[in-house]
Symmetry: C2
Subunit: 350 residues, 2 copies
């Protein structure tokens, strides 16, 4: 379509002066906000690491500390609700630091008019998820905002975990030759939330993959697997995780598209909705970087666990090509460079 003088440019506006939904999407817009606003002001070294949490030495103990707010819409979806998400999300962020989750906080922002029965259900889910993950909710807070100034219920959890192993899991530990693994098929969480939000029916039931991943990580470490880094595949999915980690580690990742597990139902839903399954959020999936010689054992350990049954090796870290990039080889053998989405393909997914 020819552009007439003065017509709006169809490319995304990047010189924004207000917050967009895309700023919360886990893509390039969010990273720019983190760089230009939060890192510029706070500038703590742990924050600059852009990992899922900070590692602190306190009183002789090595601790992980992390937080996330949850604004998922709707509050309940197949396979979970905002409460299970809030517990598992923070448990998983601690796990990605290599820590055993020990204590969680829970802060609630309630909108006037929220049925107390809804709050009670969410809180019961949080307790069940905490029990399943072996962690206690030890402190909390409640605020109420006037009707129309919130959206039912937002939860913010923070977590403290203990690093019991000398291993450091961080982007800087990724080495050429490392095998890249995932613990299961991608995209179930995003599609499950999308389906209930939009009232869509697919060829079969689809439930969120929301699950606690700490046991998996701790088991790999306990078994002596040389695990260098792990990242859960939340907002922005596998795409954001790989691009972030390639950038942070200055590595080049080679991924084989055919080896990345995506269920038929998620694949079909993504085709209908025009989504890229690599970029759809999961809440119980992670990417792991393991020393190549340990990869078969790591895969077997993952696959033996209920939350790792669909584990797969999806690629490797190489010493070639421009550092800080991810190349995906298609089933017909062509290569493309994986790029982070600009903004948001599925808003309020967590």
């Amino acid at each position: 379509m020819p552009m007439t003088p003065g017509a709006a440019c169809p490319t995304p506006k990047t010189d924004q002066s207000t917050v967009l939904l895309g700023h919360g999407g886990g893509g390039a817009l969010m990273h720019r906000l983190i760089d230009q606003c939060f890192l510029a002001a706070f500038g703590a070294p742990d924050l600059a690491e852009r990992h899922d949490g900070a590692v602190l030495d306190l009183g002789g103990a090595r601790l992980a500390f992390t937080t996330d707010s949850y604004v998922v819409h709707p509050l309940f979806f197949p396979g979970g609700d905002i409460g299970t998400l809030a517990v598992n999300g923070t448990v998983n962020d601690l796990a990605m630091c290599g820590a055993r989750p020990r204590a969680l906080s829970a802060a609630f922002i309630l909108e006037e008019g929220l049925p107390l029965e809804t709050l009670t259900r969410v809180v019961a889910s949080m307790r069940a998820a905490a029990d399943a993950a072996g962690v206690q909710i030890v402190t909390g807070d409640t605020k109420v905002v006037d009707r129309g100034r919130g959206d039912g219920l937002f939860v913010t959890t923070a977590g403290v975990g203990l690093l019991e192993h000398p291993a450091t899991l961080a982007p800087g530990q990724i080495r050429p030759g490392d095998a890249i693994l995932v613990n299961g098929d991608l995209g179930r969480h995003g599609i499950a939330v999308m389906a209930v939000r939009e009232g869509l029916a697919f060829d079969g039931p689809i439930a969120s993959d929301c699950a606690p991943l700490a046991d998996l990580i701790l088991e790999l470490l306990a078994e002596g697997i040389a695990l260098h880094c792990a990242r859960d595949l939340t907002r922005g999915g596998l795409t954001s995780a790989l691009v972030e980690l390639a950038t942070a580690s200055r590595g080049h990742f080679q991924v084989a598209e055919r080896d990345v597990p995506v269920s038929e139902i998620v694949q079909g839903a993504c085709e209908i909705l025009g989504l890229d399954p690599f970029s759809v959020a999961c809440e119980g999936r992670m990417v792991l970087f393991v020393k190549s010689s340990d990869a078969p054992r790591a895969l077997a350990l993952l696959a033996a666990h209920p939350h790792g049954q669909g584990a797969a090796v999806i690629g490797r870290v190489t010493a070639r090509w421009p550092a800080g990039t991810v190349t995906v080889t298609s089933p017909i053998g062509t290569d493309r460079v994986l790029e982070m989405l600009s903004g948001e393909q599925l808003p309020r997914i967590c």
Copy 2:
């Protein structure tokens, strides 16, 4: 006014099935929600202590862990903004556990359309407040909700602190004979927010008392003061703090109204607005329970500090009267039993 059959009862409804603004007010409604919803589900011993944070033994270290969400309206007010509040509030909750604040997290829930300049100002305030309190913001999160589903900006901070002293500060440590102190005059924060929110002008400028209190607590402990318990006077003000602590400690507190410092401007504003200065929120004030013989030294130490200049002894813990109650003696010598407000006198004050 005579009641006609079927007319609505003017007493507060307590059998609510939905969330009310009063559930966030720090009064009796909030306590019922905590009991019936959060404690019933989570049931952790630290939570049941109802202190400002939890104390954890992790890897040989004694840690305090706490969280609070901030929904203050408006975002900016004389003497601070939502950012200073979020940092000082969490710093103070750690301090009330006797801990040295070491690391904070910050999770933002942004409403689509928020000017980035507003976010930048808040984040700069948080950095300045963190520097002033000697603590680092080490990890964080950002979520965005659609326009009309939030209110500009909510912040949730969590904090981790280290207990460097063997002292335990908790309601259970309060003893008959203890002196009850405050570190300054009451109610400036609540009145400052109210004034800007309602466009009120008073006889002079009034700024929030928002301040970090950890240095004060740590100095008292370092000087060997037998400090048994401390509680910051946030939602519900002095009233909620005293009633909560009397209930938790099964003590009887005797307070002399004339000894409780309230500035003329706050007193005047409260009279105009129909507020009780004892129940107005502060963000840089606390009540302290100190062994009687240490009270003069504690008072001198507090008064020598910029955030304790208006410190005063306001009462004492006695062994008489019904346990778990607070008696206030008026300037003319009559006694009344202090009762927690039911709900909310100043919504969204923090």
